[in-house]
Symmetry: C2
Subunit: 347 residues, 2 copies
DNA sequence: TTGTACGCGTTATCAA
DNA sequence: TTGATAACGCGTACAA
């Protein structure tokens, strides 16, 4: 049984296709009786306009795409993804839009972009953003970047990663620590932090800035940098690697909460007390951060607002042209229980 | 600057539209040189085929829809949503599909369904499923229901809510409790539990079954039923209402973890010790359940598998017809610290 | 209210 | 084998 289409209904009702279309989209242009008549027949025959054909005619889809740099299963495990989507969802609900989650197709970002039938894209934390931007431009729909280094002429929403990182490091330094290890998210750049980009680069920049304020820099002795995967395991391994060294850090500054939590777990398991023996700072303020023991001092960012603002920028961009804006949302240090002054003898 | 289309490329390359189409989709039908030539020109002019037009011709979109009964912002707050989507995401990644999140449009489920340009739907926990099913059938794409009462002729994936609920209640009874309150998720049915449907109905059914095994039923005295919203606040209010009564329950069986957690918080605040003074059981095994104090005894369900199985059923259904299957995934009781035998004097 | 052009690719058919 | 012509899919918009 082939899908019933507008022609079938027109025939059955003895009217033109146009009349059927009006009955659905603009009933006021038809006499009430015929409109009703058409709708009834459509109902009986189980007709509903084909959304693809409709998009073809109207030129829009009623859908926005969220472009994700990783496969869906990995992304949704990210603890702040739900909040971010919540913000987008508010705008979608308000504007009557649906949200399409677009991950690389067969490993290809390009393929994913050109295949997605959407009116615009939100991009989240793209890394090889240059190549992707080209495809996105070519694709011909508006887009807004989130958590990427801003590009000229493209609206960008970011959070103040650098500022937050600076606050975090500053806090640790101000409380007296001088033996510090930074646990960075593995970048593929093997510790060449000058080459870090995006979120990673911004956070690193913030750490360095705070260090500089105290006349310090990453020197491999008192202040060290180590990369690890952004997982609990990564944090545990990071701690273990650090604890093998002759001189232990008195504070570990981690680029993500999940790393910090791994550190705390490994430290506790090794009989190292947090924060008495070791202070730990995270980044992100995931739900777990306030629940573990000791509660994690970390940097919070407004994920929901980020999604909300990015989506509403995109909607404006779709509806009419708009001056591209770069917006930076504030981050803030949340002081909890995982940081205290270093012990005297270790100082 | 209008989007460049297939005709522009054909013109520029001095070939027909067909040749351009072949260059993209079926290069073997062209001499290598012309194919290459066309692709080069397309690249230069920034052409990529319009996904909508393409869908129009091919008859498929490369997208599946996840139909949600509530607005996006509410749904994503649901603690097991990420896991469920993770399962779907595995299938999408494998099959090269994108996922569209489809919530009611302007309050209308029907409108959302008919507007979504997808090859098939997954539905999650629909309540007014009858009306929605009709629209879905009419929409003419295959669909698989998840967490709804199975419908004849439609593949359905469920978890054994009844079995899990039965285990939970049985556990409480077997350990000696006879003064029990069930905190149900507010249904709009005001305690007429015979009318509960879907997940709610199944869980209620499980509770009743266990009660029956002990010769008990909901009688308003030793075994009571109370509805509350599925929020922490709902649980707190539930506890308070219960504690005003002359005879306190020795155990509270909650239909969701979040309710149970509310109960524990309110109880603790009121100086009632869990589990010594009051045993509490939840449902869902959200992350928080193992982290609060005392750790919550609850029922776990395989959310990721649920998504994975449902999505792969849908993919099969899209690719070819398939016998509709009803599949029920197991749930299991997780015993933690929030349940113990009742005190003697209260028995 | 209706007829018709149109949007943009894909594909069956046909010709060289 | 290589490529062109034309029909097709399904609504919407505009002139009549």
């Amino acid at each position: 049984m082939a899908r019933v289409n507008i022609k079938d209904i027109a025939q059955k009702a003895g009217v033109s296709k146009t009349a059927v279309s009006f009955a659905f989209n603009n009933p006021s242009r038809l006499s009430e009786s015929t409109a009703q008549q058409i709708l009834t027949i459509a109902e009986e025959m189980g007709y509903s306009p084909d959304p693809v054909a409709r998009s073809m005619s109207t030129g829009h889809t009623g859908t926005i795409g969220l472009l994700l740099p990783q496969p869906l299963p990995e992304i949704v495990r990210n603890p702040f993804f739900p909040e971010f989507v919540e913000g987008i969802g508010e705008v979608c609900t308000h504007s009557g839009l649906s949200l399409m989650l677009v991950s690389p197709l067969k490993g290809s970002m390009r393929r994913a972009i050109v295949n997605a039938a959407v009116d615009g894209f939100l991009t989240l934390g793209l890394e090889e953003y240059k190549a992707t931007m080209v495809v996105l431009r070519q694709r011909g729909v508006p887009f807004v970047t989130v958590d990427s280094d801003p590009i000229e002429g493209v609206p960008a929403i970011n959070v103040d990663d650098a500022g937050g990182a600076c606050q975090a490091m500053h806090h640790v330094l101000a409380i007296g620590h001088r033996q510090i290890a930074i646990l960075a998210i593995r970048s593929g750049k093997q510790g060449h932090y000058q080459e870090y980009v995006g979120t990673l680069g911004a956070r690193m920049h913030g750490y360095l800035q705070a260090l500089q304020q105290f006349g310090l820099s990453i020197n491999g002795r008192s202040v060290r940098l180590l990369e690890c995967t952004s997982t609990e395991n990564g944090g545990m391994e990071g701690f273990q690697a650090l604890w093998k060294l002759r001189r232990h850090p008195t504070a570990i500054v981690a680029m993500s909460d999940i790393i910090a939590i791994g550190v705390i777990k490994a430290a506790t398991a090794a009989g190292v007390q947090v924060p008495q023996d070791l202070s730990v700072v995270g980044f992100d303020d995931i739900t777990l951060a306030s629940l573990i023991h000791p509660a994690l001092t970390t940097v919070a960012q407004p994920s929901r607002e980020k999604g909300q603002i990015a989506a509403s920028q995109l909607v404006k961009l779709i509806e009419s042209s708009l001056e591209p804006v770069h917006q930076v949302l504030p981050t803030r240090l949340i002081e909890r229980a995982s940081v205290c002054p270093p012990k005297k003898e270790e100082n």
